[in-house]
């Protein structure tokens, strides 16, 4: 594709203290955010967390109640959507049903009076590998094909920022996986900033360089997929991204580079760098695959009972009850070290301090759990 950008000043997308109120309801609450130019950024959160409202404000489909939005040095807060050099891939695609695929993709180019529409559209069609469908109407295409056309229709305009609103939500699992890889490839190829809104944590982790986890109109935590998964800062993030075991405890000492936490008479160690709070009341967290069915480690719980077991191919997932009212999830890799336990067996659990994290114990221990399948 030729370089026919509407304006030349590309740059980082900045949201500065942006809020959006609908009557008494606060959809987005004093949100500040910088998306670096050319990155693949995901806004992840459960339905109603304000992620789509944020996206619509960037697109110009909603006006913020407060705050400013800018790209590079240009303030676009009150700019009409048709003047912004931002394009959107809508949920359910919103293709024009009365136009052919070719005309759908050419729509934005025609509005802007671009000269060589034919070759631009063709290269966009080639990018999404749909060149053979140019003369069809949208309703003659499958969901996955429509999805690609929606991407092509937006990307052909070479926007500074491409917004994707749950673009894969309507596709089945297999197609979704394929499109995730595809979108990632397209982003790398065109180098445009992608902002991807999704409630699917796996999708966000697979595709995005940076993920912002949103909850109730605020950003809970922002970072790479690894950061968010290995070192969550709140119970919401810990529960929302993958599964997590949280144990309520109290910090009894902070010495050197480690903290000691006691819970139900047992003591656990956690590196101070992985303690996300100054509070002494904490949730001690460890991911299921980090737990081992052994009793030799520093952090261990003895006399646990297996209450459930399910074989899922690459691993066996156990539900294990601690001597007090606490159920822990354990994933054991299916290799030679397999224990092959049965329901009712007594086991011990242990894990390394460096896989432990401590979160502020003031909130809800179940925040963010089982929210991701709502939509």
């Amino acid at each position: 594709m030729a370089n026919n950008k509407v304006s030349q000043d590309t740059g980082d997308l900045k949201l500065d203290r942006v809020s959006k109120h609908y009557g008494d309801f606060c959809a987005v609450d004093d949100l500040s955010l910088i998306v670096p130019d050319g990155s693949f950024f995901a806004l992840l959160g459960p339905s109603g967390c304000g992620k789509t409202t944020t996206l619509r404000m960037i697109a110009g489909l909603e006006e913020p109640s407060a705050g400013t939005i800018s790209i590079g040095d240009t303030d676009i807060t009150t700019q009409k959507s048709y003047r912004r050099n931002v394009n959107t891939v809508f949920q359910n695609y919103a293709l024009f049903p009365h136009l052919t695929i070719f005309e759908n993709i050419a729509f934005g180019l025609r509005r802007r009076g671009v000269k060589d529409i034919k070759s631009e559209v063709e290269s966009a069609l080639n990018l999404v590998e749909m060149a053979h469908l140019a003369e069809r109407k949208p309703n003659q295409l499958s969901g996955g094909q429509q999805q690609r056309i929606a991407v092509a229709r937006a990307i052909v305009n070479r926007p500074e920022v491409l917004l994707l609103d749950e673009p894969l939500g309507a596709l089945d699992l297999k197609l979704r996986r394929q499109m995730q890889i595809e979108l990632k490839r397209i982003q790398t190829e065109v180098g445009i900033t992608f902002i991807h809104v999704t409630h699917d944590q796996e999708e966000a982790m697979t595709m995005a360089d940076t993920i912002a986890v949103m909850n109730q109109g605020k950003i809970e935590q922002m970072g790479s997929a690894t950061d968010l998964y290995e070192a969550p800062k709140t119970a919401f993030v810990a529960n929302f991204l993958g599964q997590c075991n949280l144990i309520k405890g109290k910090i009894t000492s902070r010495a050197g580079d480690k903290a000691t936490v006691t819970a139900k008479g047992l003591t656990f160690e956690v590196p101070l760098s992985r303690v996300a709070t100054s509070n002494d009341s904490v949730f001690l967290g460890v991911r299921p695959e980090k737990l081992r069915l052994d009793d030799t480690g520093v952090n261990s719980i003895k006399n646990c009972v297996v209450t459930d077991r399910s074989f899922v191919g690459t691993s066996t997932q156990y539900l294990v009850r601690a001597p007090w009212d606490l159920e822990l999830v354990v994933f054991e890799q299916n290799d030679e070290g397999l224990h092959d336990l049965r329901v009712g067996d007594t086991v011990s659990l242990e894990w390394d301090p460096e896989h432990t994290f401590a979160l502020d114990g003031a909130g809800d221990i179940n925040a963010g759990a089982d929210l991701d399948d709502e939509e």
Binding site: A59, G60, L61, K80, S81, Y82, R83, V86, N87, T88, F90, Q91, N92, A94, L95, F96, P97, H98, F107, G108, R111, R112, K137, N139, R153, A154, N157
Partner: protein
């Protein structure tokens, strides 16, 4: 053996189900077909045969014999071409007027009405709770020489003191537009309401301003409703005689008035029948050309 038996009875059972199922569509069609044959097909043949009849010399009023005189059509048309052309002009003007009123109305109900949508839709069809005749007569009051509309216009400078609307062609067109307005509004509403608002947002996102979005997306997507609405207004308006009779004057007579007086006042059945057929044929041709040109069959 028992298994085979079961299979064969199963087969015959399916067969009888299929048989009764294949009858169902015809049974469902029967009432409508009988109705159409009795009240449309037979009358239209009867009308067709009347149109070529001739009144024998010295026969009583209303007695005609079949002579296959197709020249009846030419005579009827030549004698009434003014009213004939006027009918289509009035119907066309009324259709345009109704469209100009109904499109913004339907658009507002479809996209901007929120919780008042159902109330507004009821208001659109509310006039049907009163008789067509009464509503038309009511317009003679609204447009009366001393009525609100005429008085208000007379306030303007350069308006003649003799200015009036009642009993003019303007009144007839207003009456036609008013009476068929719901037939324009409802199909338009139905097709506008089906438009996914996100396609309009997508147009804005793709650099189309409000007007361009309307021209390139909203209007093309509402074409099925627009075509249906204009047809449902134009066809009955072209054949209407009530509005011209109540709101017009002898100089605003439409073809419907001529047919009515030929049938009931003059008792000249062949001329009335010939005019009816000509009217039907003309509408049919106009509609066919219109649908072809608007290309609605290509729309979803």
């Amino acid at each position: 053996m028992a298994f085979l038996h079961a299979v064969s009875t199963g087969k015959s059972a399916t067969k009888s189900v299929l048989k009764s199922r294949s009858l169902t569509p015809y049974l469902l069609l029967a009432p409508g077909l009988i109705w159409l044959v009795t009240f449309f097909i037979i009358p239209i043949f009867s009308l067709g045969s009347t149109s070529t009849m001739v009144r024998p010399e010295g026969a009583q009023i209303g007695v005609y014999v079949q002579e296959l005189r197709f020249a009846n059509y030419v005579d009827a048309f030549l004698a009434n071409q003014d009213q004939y052309i006027r009918s289509f002009v009035y119907a066309g003007l009324a259709t345009i007027l109704a469209l100009l009123i109904a499109y913004p109305l339907a658009y507002a109900i479809a996209f901007k009405s929120g919780k008042y949508r159902n109330i507004l839709l009821v208001l659109v069809i509310a006039p049907f709770f009163t008789s067509f005749l009464l509503r038309t007569i009511a317009w003679t009051q609204i447009l009366a020489d001393s009525g609100p509309v005429v008085s208000a216009i007379k306030v303007l400078p350069f308006i003649d003191d003799l200015f009036r609307i009642n009993n003019t062609s303007t009144a007839v067109v207003i009456g036609l537009a008013y009476n068929f307005l719901p037939f324009m509004t409802l199909p338009l509403y139905a097709s506008l309401e089906r438009i996914d608002p996100r396609t309009l947002e997508a147009a804005g996102d793709l650099y189309a301003n409000g007007l361009t979005t309307f021209r390139k997306v909203t209007l093309p997507l509402s074409m099925p409703g627009l075509v249906a609405g204009t047809l449902l207004t134009f066809i009955p308006a072209a054949g209407d005689y009530v509005n011209a009779a109540i709101l017009g004057n002898p100089g605003t007579k439409m073809i419907g008035n001529v047919i009515e007086s030929r049938f009931f006042a003059v008792v000249d059945y062949p001329t009335a029948a010939a005019l009816s057929f000509t009217l039907m044929a003309t509408i049919l041709i106009l509609v066919t050309v219109y649908i072809r040109r608007s290309g609605t069959d290509e729309l979803v």
